[in-house]
């Protein structure tokens, strides 16, 4: 991991106007964060704390109300920067395209040669275990397989910054672990900076170099925990005694915030 700031958030905040009144909702911030080039950063936080909004700020899908967000030193102000790939929580497969065409979508738009496209798509299909379903349509796949298609479609374009919004939420535990391994391999191979949002504390612990813990809404970073895992790691890291310690520490930080988010009184 290098230390150059790849993404920088400075006092970044987002407020939304309520559709039914003149009130505003303070969704997230102020947030100060540096994502280092090539690091794997995960964010955990209670439901509705603004994790996805934070991701959308970095992706340029929404503009910060106050503060600034920069990618590679260039301010992002509601403009989608080059070299950013996003995997959304929802099923974003194009239902009218086969799995092969879905995965190759970004490559075709990048006007790569047909051979290069076919080669990269074939590798992605193999990596995601979707070879047998290359000519299937998304409706013929399970929810988990569809999400793998979306992940492949993003990663195949080799973005420099990968933003993942709970990408494994639809997968079963075993597949999540294996997909996590594949993601780690890709991360090592491409050297991309990865920003992952997840509800699963164990997933964050297994995958990330650093984990940001967010407060209940308006989401702010309460603390950043460094895992200090070796770069060359896989799902067997769950056997490490520190894995449990880090996960437990995350839960200690999050428990009270989670209670707040579901409307419970302050816990003792």
């Amino acid at each position: 991991m290098t230390s150059a700031a790849h993404v920088t958030l400075r006092a970044a905040e987002k407020t939304f106007a309520r559709a039914d009144s003149r009130e505003t909702i303070h969704a997230v911030g102020p947030i100060d964060l540096d994502l280092h080039k090539g690091e794997f950063f995960a964010v955990v936080g209670p439901s509705g704390c603004g994790k996805s909004t934070m991701l959308e700020l970095i992706a340029g899908l929404t503009e910060a109300t106050r503060g600034s967000v920069e990618f590679e030193g260039v301010p992002i102000s509601g403009r989608i920067p080059d070299g950013v790939g996003v995997v959304f929580q929802e099923d974003a497969c194009f239902p009218w395209m086969t799995v092969r065409d879905n995965i190759g979508f970004g490559l075709r738009r990048a006007k790569l040669s047909r051979a290069e496209c076919a080669d990269r798509v074939a590798k992605a299909l193999q990596m995601m275990g979707l070879e047998a379903f290359a000519e299937s349509y998304p409706a013929q796949l399970s929810g988990g397989m569809r999400q793998r298609v979306c992940i492949a479609r993003t990663l195949v374009t080799q973005p420099r910054l990968v933003l993942l919004d709970e990408p494994f939420g639809a997968l079963d535990q075993q597949t999540r672990l294996l997909m996590g391994e594949e993601l780690l391999k890709l991360w090592r191979h491409t050297g991309a900076t990865v920003f992952l949002i997840t509800h699963a504390l164990d997933e964050a612990t297994m995958l990330a170099d650093r984990i940001g813990v967010m407060s209940a809404r308006p989401g702010r970073l309460l603390e950043i925990i460094e895992t200090n895992w070796p770069r060359d790691r896989d799902s067997r890291i769950v056997e490490d005694v520190r894995f449990g310690e880090i996960t437990a520490r995350l839960w200690r930080s999050l428990r009270e915030e989670s209670m707040k988010s579901i409307g419970k009184a302050r816990v003792a």
């Binding site: 992706a59 899908l61 989608i80 080059d82 950013v84 790939g85 996003v86 959304f88 929802e90 099923d91 974003a92 194009f94 239902p95 009218w96 979508f105 970004g106 738009r109 349509y137 409706a139 013929q140």
Partner: protein, 250 residues
Amino acid sequence: MSRAALYRIAILAGIVALFEILCLTGKIDRITMQPPHRMVMDLGRMIGSGKLNAAIVQTLSNAGIALVLALVVGIASAIILFRFRVARDVLDPLFATYYAIPVFAFYPLLIVLFGLGDTPQILLGFMLAVVAVIVNTLNGLDRVPRVLLKTARVNQMGGTETALKIMLPSAAPYVLTGVKLAVAYSLIGIIGAEFIMSRGGMGYEISFAYNNFDNATMYPLILLILFVSLSLNTALSLWERRLLRRRGQR
């Protein structure tokens, strides 16, 4: 073949058989209606003789032009209205009541403006078809998942590319419903206009035959229109079914 299709064929066959019996037994006299088998024979003879080919070509080409115009203008308008909420809010009530307006009442005005040629007829066909395309396309665009639009933005796609590569393919089943209606409406518009006042076309020939008690021409022409409309509708329905099956919706 699906059970529904079999029932459909059985019902149609039953209706045809009923008319055949009623005509052959004299319950319906020949001046009122010919037996269906006679209509088919007359249609074959008419097409074989080539007597009405010019009228058939005129009607179908005008209906085709009206349909294409309605599709291009209708789909483009729907995309624009989808993007401009205020314009849509203004026009939505008009769309809801549009088919209560007797469009054929504008035919004399169109003849005054454009003469007694093809243009007023094409405009009538277009006017009847275009709103069905707009309403159904908008219906489909409303259902495009937001995540697909976000995906388009992440892929740095512009407005036109997003519309062509994401929004319209996603809304395709609904657009196709609009196309099916537009096929019927454009035919109705052209034939209706020809029927009222024209110098040619199938509607004109039907009108002429109707006024002269020429059932041997009128019914086969009606049968031909029915056949063309049914064929196009069936082809579009098959396409629609294929699209829906791919999406796991049927």
